[in-house]
Symmetry: C2
Subunit: 151 residues, 2 copies
């Protein structure tokens, strides 16, 4: 059934299914508010207006089964390189092990090439050891420490 999978730009109608996936996660469960979609709809409108932002959904049949956000970040370092940053990768519980995560990350890497990025980067919570093996299998190097400061 892999043939009927489509990866396309996220729209407002996809927000309930995206938020359900964000919340269906050991870390996301305490951070999200699936009963109040207003802040997500506001954020999606801002993202859609920004040419450097690409929030996509993977759709199988009529169901949203995956999502990620790709941000294109120009910069001065590395001879004025542009990099891309992947955030918010989620795969529906029913689809885990189906290769959908690989399809989503492969889409992000190919889109980054189309946008002339020289580097793709992401951070993964230190507790997500399965995710770390997944990214290493796709060729990513765990070369950095990711620091966060909550405001």
């Amino acid at each position: 059934m892999e043939e009927d999978l489509e990866i396309r730009q996220a729209a407002a109608k996809d927000v309930p299914e995206i938020v359900a996936m964000l919340a269906d996660d050991p870390l996301g469960a305490t951070r999200e508010s699936p009963d109040d979609l207003t802040p997500y709809l506001t954020a999606l409108a801002r993202l859609t207006d920004d040419p450097n932002q690409h929030v996509v959904v993977a759709v199988r049949g009529e169901r949203v089964v995956g999502t990620l956000q790709l941000t294109v970040v120009p910069g001065l370092s590395r001879k004025g390189s542009t990099r891309s940053i992947i955030e918010g990768v989620r795969v529906h519980g029913d689809e885990r092990g189906s290769g959908l995560g690989t399809r989503l990350i492969t889409w992000a890497v190919e889109e980054s090439r189309r946008q002339d990025c020289q580097l793709v980067q992401l951070t993964s919570d230190a507790t997500r050891t399965d995710a770390h093996r997944f990214y290493e299998r796709l060729g990513f190097k765990a070369s950095h420490v990711g620091f966060k400061l909550q405001l």
Copy 2:
């Protein structure tokens, strides 16, 4: 002499001094091209046009002595949170230990608050252990693994 330090938006005239700092670094030495500023000027023009990008320089007297890039990234996760990402932090060799790094990061954190970010993040190469202690002293948590894929 700290009183005469100014942090302001980077301009084309600052590019030679910014690139000299990017290159004066154990990792940057092999990545930069201070003899050809064209790609940096092209990148700075693109950055200056983007309201979510803030490349700043720290100037003492007439000299550029520090730089960083702050990117504002809206998103869906964490209830539609906006985060900021710090990249390309450099302090001139003459200024190390002067507190300038703290001034630059404090500027970035305050600007992130002004822009309603809920999270500030950055990655630091695993070899930069002094930098890791510096960020932890400023309240950052080393909670994530940073993955990179060169294209």
